[in-house]
């Protein structure tokens, strides 16, 4: 029981991170039907910005809580700017081209950004000041660290904020309209370019938050850290039904849980196999994911 409880705690933490990254994939996909390969790199950039800002603010003598909060906000802003730039440079000119061309451009940007991070930040891991958040508490025999609490807390907070933004505000309405039909929404006066930019920015902000929390949790960041979570989060987005925000959250949580439980009870070396097999099985019976809508037949 203790064992299960501990694994569940681990799974929720991991799932929360996947969910935050998966949201970026799903939002971008929902609006321009692009698998944004560069998203994992935005997440890595967020991790780096976090460590850069935290160590600078810390050296200026701010208290830890202020450092953390300010770094979180600033890094989210930075990544939003970065993602908007990437969108302008690499995706927008290709909006009329075939979707695979954009996919390839995204792949190129991913390699470009990853190596850009390597060139400016070096090949060595960068240490996070893990001593800022220490300790934890016991809960029914399972150890829960404060860092895990923060991860889950910030994730929930951001998810609630995102839901409010998308479903309760005018901007959110515009985003949903653009995702449904770009031409029609443009006709009723929505600036679709601006909405697309905004979508990229929001997705990137969430990824940046995930990057910082992962850095604090695991103690370090590296320029290629975006790749593995990127693939996992993409799977999560598809599992939940790509294009669907609630689906992405659910998908992230499920993938995180499967991984941890498979590693805990079956075999740690085949845990990714289990994650993918379940993904394939779900898609076989629900070809559009758990919460996805029917995709137009003619799309390739």
């Amino acid at each position: 029981m203790e064992f299960l409880l501990q694994q569940l705690v681990n799974g929720i933490t991991l799932g929360g991170v996947y969910a935050l990254v998966a949201l970026g994939y799903t939002m971008v996909y929902g609006i321009i039907q692009l698998i944004n390969f560069a998203h994992g790199e935005i997440y890595a950039a967020g991790g780096y910005m976090g460590v850069i800002l935290i160590s600078w603010l810390f050296s200026q003598g701010f208290p830890p809580a202020v450092c953390l909060g300010a770094a979180l906000v600033l890094a989210m802003g930075y990544c939003a700017m970065l993602a908007m730039a990437v969108e302008k440079v690499a995706y927008k000119p290709l909006r009329q081209s075939s979707r695979l061309s954009v996919l390839l451009s995204a792949l190129g940007m991913s390699i470009f950004l990853q190596n850009g991070l390597m060139l400016t930040q070096g090949v060595y891991d960068r240490a996070y000041p893990t001593e800022m958040v220490q300790g934890g508490f016991e809960f029914g025999g399972a150890v829960v660290s404060w860092m895990q609490v923060i991860i889950v807390g910030v994730t929930v907070l951001l998810l609630v904020a995102l839901n409010l933004l998308v479903f309760k505000t005018r901007i959110g309405k515009a985003m949903r309209a653009t995702a449904q039909d770009k031409t029609m929404s443009a006709l009723v006066g929505i600036n679709s370019n601006r909405i697309i930019s905004l979508t990229f920015a929001i997705g990137a902000g969430l990824a940046a938050a995930a990057g910082i929390m992962v850095g604090l949790y695991y103690g370090s960041v590296r320029y290629d850290m975006g790749f593995v979570p990127g693939v996992k989060a993409f799977s999560a987005a598809v599992l939940g039904g790509i294009g669907n925000i609630t689906g992405a959250m659910l998908g992230g949580l499920i993938i995180g849980m499967i991984e941890v439980l498979a590693a805990g009870y079956i075999s740690s070396e085949y845990k990714d196999v289990f994650a993918f097999v379940i993904l394939i099985a779900v898609l076989y019976f629900m070809p559009t994911g758990i919460m996805g809508e029917n995709v137009d037949d003619t799309r390739v």
């Binding site: 203790e2 694994q7 390597m118 439980l261």
Partner: protein, 386 residues
């Protein structure tokens, strides 16, 4: 306006390329200045997941060249051609062929055993010396390759030292093993598992994690439940070991931890901080007080702290250059004869290559104490270091 923005962003990309070219040219000039002389190559992952270790190797070679250059006389000056293999067998072979084309006479590298083995085929066939400072897999030297040498130790020796330490010094009864599925880390872990029953150690479990994973919580929960006396951690490098140590501490696992030589890197303490304290590791014995080590440390200073394989790569280069100097030429047969005779005090250990190219292992147990790697126990004598 839109068009303009688009255009500019394009230009930005193009200019990045231009900047890249600019940087490149400058380096070229530096490299071209000394004409002729001796050219050696280095092979290692300069990009990708293990880029840090690859750069350590390259820097070790550079330091050695700087030290040896004044001594080389008419044979010099020595220049380096550093190639990237990204730890990918295909790229390693391509890089090896490139080095053959560039007419290098020796290659220091590679890092991953899975890159060293395929790259050695064309190199040895072209009669180019290959001295690996880091590939500890037994097969590297056991294929009867005439020009293949190894400066670091071997996995089988290292696992013996580890098992001996756990049984005799730590008086452990039950151990738990984790590796991250590379030729190196799994090879070591498997050896330990095989040797453990002979030393009355019970293996409670042997788990594998995937490379690139940072979340070990599921495996660690299992370890915690199993309550071993010693937790044997075999990971490919320090960057993956640091998050492991942090999570071990966070989980409240209090067992002793034994790691291996790949984890030896100053960044371990930088990343894991106080969570690295008290971790044991097997590592080739290096006396940091010898003149040879101090000379190395001096030459290496400008690259930062030496990593796990910096001293080995330095010694590999020095050994080759000494042999060339003694032979008076780069003729492979003469150099091979000299390498067989060669014996000197290297930075890492006493260098003496055996018939098959191995240089022997001298693993000791180190411990992380006050943020520093300190020698702890000598398996040869079974005694603690003072």
């Amino acid at each position: 306006m839109k068009r303009a923005l688009y255009l500019i962003s394009m230009l930005l990309l193009a200019s990045f390329v231009a900047v890249g070219c600019g940087g490149e040219k400058k380096e070229d000039k530096k490299a071209e200045a000394p004409k002729a002389g001796l050219k050696i190559g280095s092979l290692g992952p300069l990009t990708g997941q293990y880029a840090a270790d690859g750069n350590d190797i390259k820097n070790g070679v550079l330091a050695a060249i700087e030290v040896m250059n004044p001594e080389m006389g008419a044979l010099g000056p020595v220049t380096l051609q550093a190639e990237d293999d990204a730890c990918d067998p295909r790229q390693a072979v391509a890089a090896a062929n490139k080095l053959i084309n560039e007419k290098v006479t020796a290659v220091i590298g590679a890092y991953c055993s899975s890159a060293t083995i395929p790259a050695s085929e064309p190199l040895i066939a072209a009669k180019i010396f290959m001295i690996t400072p880091a590939s500890t897999n037994e097969k590297v030297t056991e294929r009867g390759m005439p020009y293949m040498y190894r400066t670091c130790g071997r996995d089988d020796d290292q696992s013996k030292a580890a098992v001996k330490f756990m049984a005799e010094q730590l008086k452990a009864k039950a151990i738990y093993i984790v590796d991250d599925k590379t030729t190196y880390s799994q090879g070591l872990a498997d050896n330990v598992e095989k040797l453990a029953p002979g030393a009355n150690l019970k293996v409670l479990g042997h788990e594998h994690v995937n490379q690139g994973d940072k979340d070990y919580s599921a495996v660690l929960t299992k370890v915690k439940a199993a309550k071993p006396d010693v937790f044997y951690v075999s990971l490919q490098n320090s960057a993956s070991a640091a998050p492991m140590l942090i999570q071990i501490a966070r989980m409240g696992i209090k067992t002793k931890i034994l790691a291996q030589d790949a984890v030896y890197h100053p960044q371990l303490m930088e990343l894991a901080k106080k969570d690295a304290e008290g971790v044991f590791l097997t590592f080739g014995y290096t006396d940091k007080e010898t003149p040879a080590y101090k000379k190395f440390a001096e030459a290496y200073k400008k690259f930062g702290e030496p990593g796990a394989y910096s001293a080995y790569s330095y010694d590999s280069t020095v050994a080759y250059l000494k042999a060339v100097k003694a032979a008076g030429s780069t003729d492979p047969e003469k150099v091979k004869a000299e390498l067989a005779k060669l014996e000197f005090d290297g930075a890492s250990k006493k260098i003496k290559y055996k018939e098959n190219g191995d240089s022997g292992s001298n693993y000791v147990i180190q411990v992380v104490k006050d943020g520093k790697f300190t020698n702890y126990w000598n398996p040869e004598t079974g005694e603690l270091f003072k």
